[in-house]
Symmetry: C2
Amino acid sequence: MGNGNIVNLVVIGTVAFDSIKTPFGEAESIIGGSALHFASSASFFTHVGVVAPIGEDFNMDELSFLKERNVDFSGISILNGSTFRWKGKYGYDLNMAVTIDTKLNVLELFKPKLPEHYKYANFVFLANIDPELQSLIIDQIKNRDAYVSLDTMNFWIEHKREELLDVIRRVDMVVVNEAELREITMEHNLLKGARKLLSMGPKTVVIKRGEYGVLMVNVEEVFLCPAYPLEDVFDPTGAGDTFAGGLLGYLSNVGEVSNETLKKAVIMGCVMASFNVEDFGPNRMKSLTHREIKDRYSSFKKCIEFGDVNL
Amino acid sequence: MGNGNIVNLVVIGTVAFDSIKTPFGEAESIIGGSALHFASSASFFTHVGVVAPIGEDFNMDELSFLKERNVDFSGISILNGSTFRWKGKYGYDLNMAVTIDTKLNVLELFKPKLPEHYKYANFVFLANIDPELQSLIIDQIKNRDAYVSLDTMNFWIEHKREELLDVIRRVDMVVVNEAELREITMEHNLLKGARKLLSMGPKTVVIKRGEYGVLMVNVEEVFLCPAYPLEDVFDPTGAGDTFAGGLLGYLSNVGEVSNETLKKAVIMGCVMASFNVEDFGPNRMKSLTHREIKDRYSSFKKCIEFGDVNL
């Protein structure tokens, strides 16, 4: 299933069927999953390779919109059984998903394996999966300079804390939400929590705050990014992974990690997430254009900039 | 009690004795109140005049730090009885005050009256008091070009809705928190709510979001301001009024209301609020210097700025 392209950015995560109910409508068994949302965003900027398991019930035609953006699917393994399924709903507080049902299905059998040409990618994103599998992926990377980033969730923080701390030690960037940061570091204050997490190994911590934006912290920098203001948020599913896709996709595009590029990358992540929530699943990402991305980046920047003062 | 100075910015609100408990300590009967917190901030930028009632138990020496910054107290009336008292506490969610006890005392007798030289001020801030009293103040303003701003709270939105909407129609700017905006406009989405509030009369809406910053909206502009990131928030009492004091104090200092100055003023408001929460009551504002204000404005700006992208 490869397409001969070089892969610059690898994502390891899930491809899923989601059933979602929001105050604005519902969608039954639409494609989703962390790797899919990530790739639908990152593929606007760079050559993405996807590592994820699917079941025999998954029709690869569903991914044709990613194929058109040169996403490499040679890391997708078709396993015996059904594709991972998630069913959830949101109330008017769209920051808060309520899980109704999770069927792991093929995810229970998943042993991620990097195709040979993925092992030299410059950027790797370990989406929210078992930290032992995340470590297993890092073992396979052959590019010593690869920039590795990870996401996680409360379940792993609570049930595989040691394994999670082990893999956190090995990555360059951690991308988590506020609650996850607090649970990992046992610090309520975000800045203190971020500094504590930095002391555990990663060079940069990116904290997702939903409709309140993003905080990025490293040794030299504290960067405050508000969220792009939207009048209509339709479905927040996948916003976090679309954010990470914009963030790492942009970094991979410029090929350089500095505080200047990191800040722009965080903004780009917010821009991509702001599009994703405008429709169910990855629908908005299907019609999205580079022109729209550029325009929203500029109008976002305009909403944030201000001048110096003379006192 | 006047000092002969011209008054550029008038605040109408309360002077109080607060008893406050936070997870980091407690303070008994310290000075507070909306007008006091506002003046302690705005007085760094302009000549402030205060209109508020105090009781016979209030020692004016408590306000000497404001006197040194040329605050005009001729609008303070000493009424028979005790000064307004508020007792409250905060949990670790410092966005949320829990009121334990309120004693209105002299506030129940308060009929605000502008001293003659206050009537020509260029800026007026109607802090959170009965909207009928806010209207009464507007009736007394003689400067036709005065820029008038108001704050309010859930109690008035629920119990004096019509009177509140009447005074909102007459002001230039409304400064409220997220919950108040939602309750006034009955719109959950902040942008939609802000636009609805704009349609009710004011030219600019400023929405305070606590640790998440501020959103400013008018017909031409949406401005997103994150909060200044602090490792230690000690006491959030008065943060909203200190914010408004920085905002209107700065505007009064430059003497011009444009979108450019409004944005800087919002940032200045956040800077001032970030100092205020570092200690109980107005304690931090007593030791604060212009140098510290300038430095924090610059470091805040550095935490927000980012570059353009080439895609």
